[in-house]
Point group: C2
Chain length 294, copies 2
């Protein structure tokens, strides 16, 4: 099963990366802007969001090609958010995944514009995709703008900036994670299932699943910053504690955080069962994200 999941993830990751590169390389735009967009899009990463979208589609239908453009658009939005979050005025990060951040390689102005361009281009891609019907395009543009805009991801980043250097409650922490990460995961799973032909009720259960998956992902992120292997993670550990960041281990202790994660895994699987997707890749992905060591 694990092998099958790995193959599915690799295949989808490759398809998404090829399409991402294709859609950007064919743009006839100022060179430096294009290079800056490509730099961050090609910086790699797990491609968790698009792969989840594909896996949710695959739980109901097999021809994942139809879901490719929305998956690519989602990854562009995720990439734009990383570029802007890394800016000196925001988190002021020099490195991401071991590589210099966009504004360190190019410059701040170009990084801001590359982010703006990726965000805008994602809506162009969806609205001009020949494989989607007009109703599907409208539905996807609506959901994607909702989860990534002022009510979603942007709100999460605004709250995160405000939460720095003060102690927050577990509830506030979960709100920030849900807005910054969970909402995009909800879009991924909901859109994949929608395109795959899932019922409204099934989609609602899957969105509930995505909510817990987002929390699992975040708890594990926090746990790995305490217990992880820097070589496998590709980044130093202990930075959360050094920066006095609000994390699950800080608020609940390490054991408390791991227990919390287990309860989230249970709830995620229960939601999957209700969505009729308990035997899909989504179930394997849940275990995978809960147990990952990188």
């Amino acid at each position: 099963m694990q092998q099958e999941l790995n193959k599915f993830m690799d295949d989808q990751k490759t398809a998404v990366e090829q399409e991402l590169e294709h859609q950007l390389r064919e743009l006839d735009i100022p060179e430096r802007l294009k290079a800056s967009m490509l730099y961050s899009v090609e910086a790699g990463g797990k491609r968790l969001r698009p792969v989840l979208l594909m896996a949710a589609y695959h739980a109901y239908d097999n021809d994942t090609d139809v879901a490719l453009t929305p998956a690519v658009a989602l990854e562009m939005i995720h990439t734009y958010s990383l570029i802007h979050d890394d800016l000196p005025a925001m988190d002021d990060d020099d490195l991401r995944r071991g590589q210099p951040t966009n504004h360190k390689v190019y410059d701040e102005a170009t990084a801001i514009l590359a982010g703006d361009a990726l965000l805008t281009y994602s809506f162009e891609l969806i609205s001009s995709d020949p494989q989607l019907s007009a109703n599907q395009k409208v539905q996807i543009v609506k959901s994607l703008s909702e989860v990534s805009g002022p009510k979603g991801m942007v709100a999460g980043q605004a709250l995160d900036m405000k939460a720095e250097q003060r102690e927050i409650t577990l509830e506030e922490l979960e709100t920030i994670h849900t807005l910054k990460t969970g909402e995009l995961l909800r879009f991924a799973v909901g859109t994949g299932a929608y395109l795959g032909g899932a019922s409204t009720e099934q989609i609602a259960h899957l969105e509930n699943f995505a909510y817990y998956l987002g929390l699992i992902f975040q708890v594990q992120d926090d746990v790995l910053d305490v217990t992880g292997d820097p070589d496998k993670l590709g980044k130093p550990v202990g930075s959360d504690e050094a920066n006095d960041k609000n994390t699950y281990p800080k608020l609940l202790g390490l054991e408390g955080a791991i227990e919390k994660k287990s309860s989230y895994v249970q709830r995620a699987k229960e939601a999957l069962r209700k969505a009729g997707a308990e035997t899909s890749y989504l179930a394997l992905l849940t275990d995978y994200f809960s147990a990952r060591d990188y």
Copy 2:
């Protein structure tokens, strides 16, 4: 006629401003983010883009209400571009329309997020407008993302940054203006006419009209920086020359620039005639923008 145009412009400006405020005030989002978005949206200005969209609609149909959401979305995109263009990493402007720029009142991080939020929210507004059909929504999202993204406005800003501190040709200058301003005007006029029921041929002529209107607007901007009255303009004059900016008067001389403008006015009116819109407000708007002294 002039009085009638003024009334139309005032009415449309009021309708757009009320709707802009309504759509932002009802958002349940972090307070500082919302205040920052509202600050720039309420900073006023001529509302040229939405009024043009309404005028183009009105050239073919009377119920301008249908065009209100796309007009508001367009103004949000314009506002986001001003916020990001003013940032320290970009044009580093402390004042706009005599008021402190967004990042001076709030902070850079909030200004970046407010811009991101306005951009994203504009697509949400269009895709969830109950007055537009699915096909209309798709068409408008597609056009708006094209003109404002990496092939349009963002490319213009990227080229503009690159063009600073070096001499450029008239052709390069026009490319930058077309991308930074003209493309949004083309969207305004094209979308208004499309929603009003204009034919494909009429829309093509109107988009040609918008191209010249954008150039007229820019030449007049440059001319006013030489000959304008600072009190009427609400900003000091002579700054283009002081900053060694590439302008029409610099490249063609003052008289040459004014002659150029006249030839653009002629071509704009010719395009309007071909679109069957020579008696619409669009014709009056052309004279108005060519002769404006503020």
